[in-house]
Amino acid sequence: MKILVLVKQVPDTATKIRLNPGDTAIQTDGIKWVINPYDEFAIEECLRLKEKAGGEVVVLSLGPSRVEEAIRQALAMGADRAIHVMTDAVIDSQVAARALAKVAQEEGYDLIVTGKQAVDDDQAQVGALVAVELGLPQVTVVIELNVDVESRRIRAERELEGASEIVELPMPAVITAQRGLNEPRYPTLPNIMKAKKKEVKSVPLDSLGVDTTPWVRVEELTLPPERPAAKILTGEPEEAAKELARLLHEEAKVI
């Protein structure tokens, strides 16, 4: 079974976001980059499927040269090889999906797995759009996955608001992973050393022959407003309680 796993490199979730006035992207110098946490669930699931059914896991990533670090980490977890679609350009989900779908088509696959969303822009589009581009069935926000390799059927449980849904679909398909699907492994030392020697094929985005005109342009980016300083009520409890009730009613308008 050949599984493609789509991996995005994102700023570490603990990053302090910095913006200059007029910026349409965050300041990236000094940022620590990591594998998108939802993609880690995807990688882990692929490795488990491979351990059960055999085959190979191919990492597919898109972005500038720094992305190779994330790719090596995925290889250190146990993926077999990788394809890096190289670009320094700012692209939107649609362009990303077109490019990834094109590479997937050339590469061939039985299954495509990725995280339900990337934690940088939180758009949750690429997995779904890749399925559309390739004309594949898809199931998103998956918390349990069963793949029957013999019958080429997938049974997946996906998370809904306050409920869960069980869906069945044929292979090949696109799966997007939600937290809870599994507990991602950390790499072992032998695998970290092996990862250095695994193949990472670099493919320039421009060489794919896909339309790279974005559909979405970021107009403006601003930080959330700073919270106003907290108010501390002093005085007798009775007075303070009255004042608190007044503030909640008149200022906060929550009661």
Binding site: E69, R72, Q73, Y186, P187, T188, L189, P190, I192
Partner: protein, 382 residues
């Protein structure tokens, strides 16, 4: 880019599963960090220095030093990892092929713990050649009699690497002759005249006094040639100093990480305390010293791994790193004020732990004596 970025990231990911609260609990309960050691073993880190043909990963001292550094930087303590990684070095360098086949694969897989190293005695600390524990051949076995002190992890180890005198000091030409190294099976020894007396200390290292009363050790557990043991121990010292330097650096960076984070957040007199030069400059200075020590560690490790003489660099690295980590510890506890002494902030624990490195596994004075004598060509001072 750091050539060891992937290695560092791997260790960090593992260490993230063992947060500071895990280490606080181990410290409070004086517990052996079993779960952490299992995870490090299963991920292959503790077999870093064991060649691949014996089931290890076959890496150099540089990588091993980086692994230990990252453990300490995470807020953990690498003492047990260091022991399992390094103690087998004497066996690897001087054991027979049969001995290596017998023990190394089990050590690499973590099935066998060789984490106790029996050199120090009440009457012989830095002055190792005057140790009085004897191993006498009785025609059948070596019989070990004597005392050892500050021997760590004995209660959590399967084997002890023991240095004992096999020829009395008055019958050898050089006092460093006549010492031999043995692999002592601790479970057997405990049934056969070994008594273990725990010693409470400032750190959670499970250290002990050992009393040997005619403990028998079979000949096949003698490592290398009888009488050559001291040189076998000595030629592992450079590697040990480089590993310890890594642990010191990890501690030092831990202190800087924590203290700068605290100094940015903590507001006194309406400003973050990190804005005060009295807070900022000691941290900047400690960081500069850490980076300098880091360079010396890297140079020492590279020379060692290329098989070049590294005595000077290894000793300098250990000296500089242990002093830099202590400087960082002091700056960190001062930055934290009263909170530095509160257990939940982890500073006091790491403060205690990093102080050890100026005393053990080798005292700073002995390092200085080495530099004076062997690097600066001054008369031997001891």
């Amino acid at each position: 880019m750091d050539a060891f970025a992937a290695l560092r990231e791997g260790v960090r990911q593992l260490c993230q599963r063992f947060p500071a609260s895990y280490w606080r609990d181990c410290d409070r309960d004086r517990a052996y960090p079993e779960a952490f050691l299992s995870a490090m073993t299963e991920a292959g880190y503790l077999a870093a220095l064991i060649p691949e043909r014996y089931g290890g990963v076959g890496l150099g001292v540089m990588e091993a030093s980086v692994i230990l550094e990252e453990v300490n930087r995470s807020g953990g303590n690498a003492a047990q990892c260091h022991a399992q990684m390094y103690t087998m070095g004497t066996l690897l360098r001087h054991g027979s092929e049969e001995q290596k086949q017998r023990w190394l694969p089990d050590i690499a897989a973590g099935r066998l713990r060789l984490q106790a190293f029996g050199v120090t005695e009440p009457g012989a600390g830095s002055d190792t050649t005057h140790l009085e524990t004897t191993a006498v051949w009785d025609g059948d076995h070596y019989r070990v009699t004597g005392q050892k002190i500050f021997i760590s992890r004995v209660q959590h180890s399967d084997y002890l690497l023991l240095l004992a005198r096999t020829t009395p000091i008055d019958q050898v030409t050089r006092r460093s002759d006549g010492l031999s190294v043995f692999m002592v099976d601790l479970r057997e020894a405990l049934q056969d005249g070994l008594f273990v007396q725990p010693i409470e200390t400032m750190m959670n290292h499970e250290t002990n006094a050992l009393f040997f009363d005619g403990v028998s050790v079979p000949r096949e557990n003698l490592i290398g040639e009888e009488g050559q043991g001291f040189s076998y121990i000595l030629d592992g010292m450079n590697a040990e100093r480089i590993l310890i330097a890594g642990e010191c650096l990890g501690d030092g960076y831990f202190f800087i990480d924590r203290a700068t984070a605290y100094a940015r957040e903590r507001v006194v007199f309406n400003r973050p305390i990190g804005q005060n030069q009295g807070i900022q400059f000691p941290l900047a200075r400690a960081y500069a010293h850490l980076r300098a020590a880091d360079l010396m560690r890297t140079q020492a490790a590279e020379r060692f791994d290329q098989g070049e003489p590294s005595g000077e660099e290894a000793n300098l690295a250990k000296l500089l790193a242990s002093e830099a980590s202590w400087e960082a510890a002091n700056a960190a506890i001062q930055t934290h004020g009263g909170y530095g002494f509160a257990v939940d902030y982890d500073i006091e624990r790491k403060f205690r732990e990093t102080r050890l490195f100026q005393v053990a596994p080798v005292s700073t004075n002995l390092i200085l004596a080495y530099i004076g004598e062997h690097v600066l060509d001054l008369p031997r001072s001891y």
